[in-house]
């Protein structure tokens, strides 16, 4: 099933084929979409419905269709998802892929934005658990497993991202987290929260920037 994690789509092979078929050959009826992916409608229909729920494809009712009345087409969001999925994982910025992995929802979590939820739930002055976890994971190397009990549902492709030298932006984030850790060790949770929040802000900025 197509997931969106921190702006990065992950599509399975069938989804990618369907989106590619709609992208390359234009809108088509269910049977045509199935044939384009060398498959049959009974298998393609549920995938199309899922993609439709996620806004990656659009369906239009047409009148008097001999072979059905649904015309499927790819949406701009679907095009974006396809482009992202077409990028080999090695070409994807490692930092963003790691971010996508770190914010992957828990297997039993209904929301992909665990950090934001926890942050919003915490009263000011207390250290939000999500922030600490994110801060810790941003500081951890991609292959590190210590303290990441929630990583069971992570994207396997993201794990395979090769290690590279962190950029100045990432180093700044790491330093802020370390300062936060030091403050927390000294019992100054307010100060620690400030550092973690600064790091979080930078992480979000990095996530939003087009070159990220």
């Amino acid at each position: 099933m197509a997931n969106r994690m921190n702006g990065v789509y992950s599509l399975d092979q069938t989804e990618r084929r369907i989106l590619r078929a709609l992208h390359d050959k234009g809108p088509g009826m269910l049977m045509e979409v199935a044939v384009r992916t060398l498959d049959f409608p009974e298998r393609v229909a549920p995938v199309l419905r899922t993609l439709h729920e996620q806004g990656l494809v659009h369906v239009e009712r047409i009148r008097g269709g001999v072979l059905g009345n649904e015309l499927w087409s790819i949406t701009p969001q679907g095009r974006r998802a396809l482009e992202e999925a077409a990028q080999p994982s090695g070409q994807r910025p490692a930092f963003i892929t790691r971010m996508a992995r770190d914010v992957a929802p828990l297997p039993n979590s209904s929301s992909g934005s665990e950090y934001q939820q926890e942050e919003a739930a915490q009263p000011s002055g207390q250290q939000p658990a999500g922030t600490t976890r994110m801060a810790r994971d941003v500081a951890l190397p991609p292959n590190s497993s210590s303290g990441s009990e929630y990583q069971s549902g992570v994207d396997a492709a993201a794990r395979s991202v090769p290690l590279r030298q962190p950029t100045g932006h990432e180093l700044e984030i790491e330093l802020l987290i370390k300062l936060g850790d030091l403050a927390a060790q000294h019992g100054d949770t307010n100060e620690a929260t400030k550092y973690y929040q600064q790091a979080l802000k930078l992480v979000r900025e990095k996530g939003r920037s087009p070159d990220a």
Partner: protein
């Protein structure tokens, strides 16, 4: 002073350039089905708008600025008319920004954005009409195959096309041999379906989507010819 026939001639020149612009949009949007797309109502509507809008803009501009009574100006307006729409938006907003407060500026910007959106909405309506009509045409062609053509001939035709024209699959462009194997495997899977009509439908859809409508139309023609030949007393 320029005469009315001359003004109309220049306007027609603007319209012709606008049509060429619209055609290029259609060609890029329907690269695989350009010929068929151009024969749809949606395409004609889009081309008409692309003809009338620059002609109207030219007549309007020439009535305000007499120096625009020249074929060069007509061509320039024809080429630039989609840009003109966007420029009108910017000019309009900029003029208001000098005189009005922040709030009214925001309202005016919203108005001008809507003006630009009219064309975009119209264009997407035309594209939807074209796509729907193309889908109807394909479905009609498939229905004709189901009623008029022989299954074995259709299967042979699809297999011949697979051999003659390797099909690069979306995900396996780097490995065409594999894709040909998959094509043949897919035809085998189709032939395992229960209903004859279903088999014909899938095979026709397969031919249309991988080898183009012309391949299936040619097959239908061959079948008609074959049927005519098989009827005693009917000259070929």
């Amino acid at each position: 002073m320029t005469s009315l026939p001359q003004l109309l001639l220049f306007a027609a020149l603007s319209a012709a350039v606008g049509v060429a612009w619209g055609l290029s949009e259609l060609v890029s949007a329907f690269a695989l089905d350009t010929g068929y797309a151009l024969r749809t109502l949606g395409a004609w509507l889009l081309l008409l708008v692309n003809a009338f809008a620059p002609a109207f803009i030219y007549v309007l501009a020439a009535s305000f600025f007499p120096e625009l009574y020249a074929w060069q100006a007509a061509v320039a307006i024809g080429l630039a008319w989609p840009v003109v729409i966007r420029n009108l938006h910017f000019n309009f907003s900029a003029r208001i920004a000098d005189a009005a407060s922040d709030d009214s500026n925001a309202a005016d910007q919203a108005t001008s954005v809507r003006f630009e959106r009219i064309y975009t909405n119209f264009q997407s309506l035309a594209y939807r009409m074209i796509n729907a009509q193309l889908a109807h045409q394909r479905a009609g062609l498939i229905a004709r195959v189901v009623t008029d053509c022989d299954l074995n001939d259709l299967e042979a035709h699809a297999r011949r096309l697979c051999i003659a024209q390797p099909v690069p699959m979306s995900d396996e462009r780097e490995n065409e041999n594999l894709s040909n194997e998959r094509c043949s495997e897919y035809i085998d899977n189709i032939m395992m379906r229960e209903s004859v009509d279903e088999k014909k439908m899938y095979l026709s859809a397969f031919v249309i989507n991988y080898f183009g409508r012309a391949s299936l139309e040619e097959f239908i023609r061959q079948q008609k010819h074959k049927v005519r030949k098989s009827i005693p007393g009917v000259a070929s």
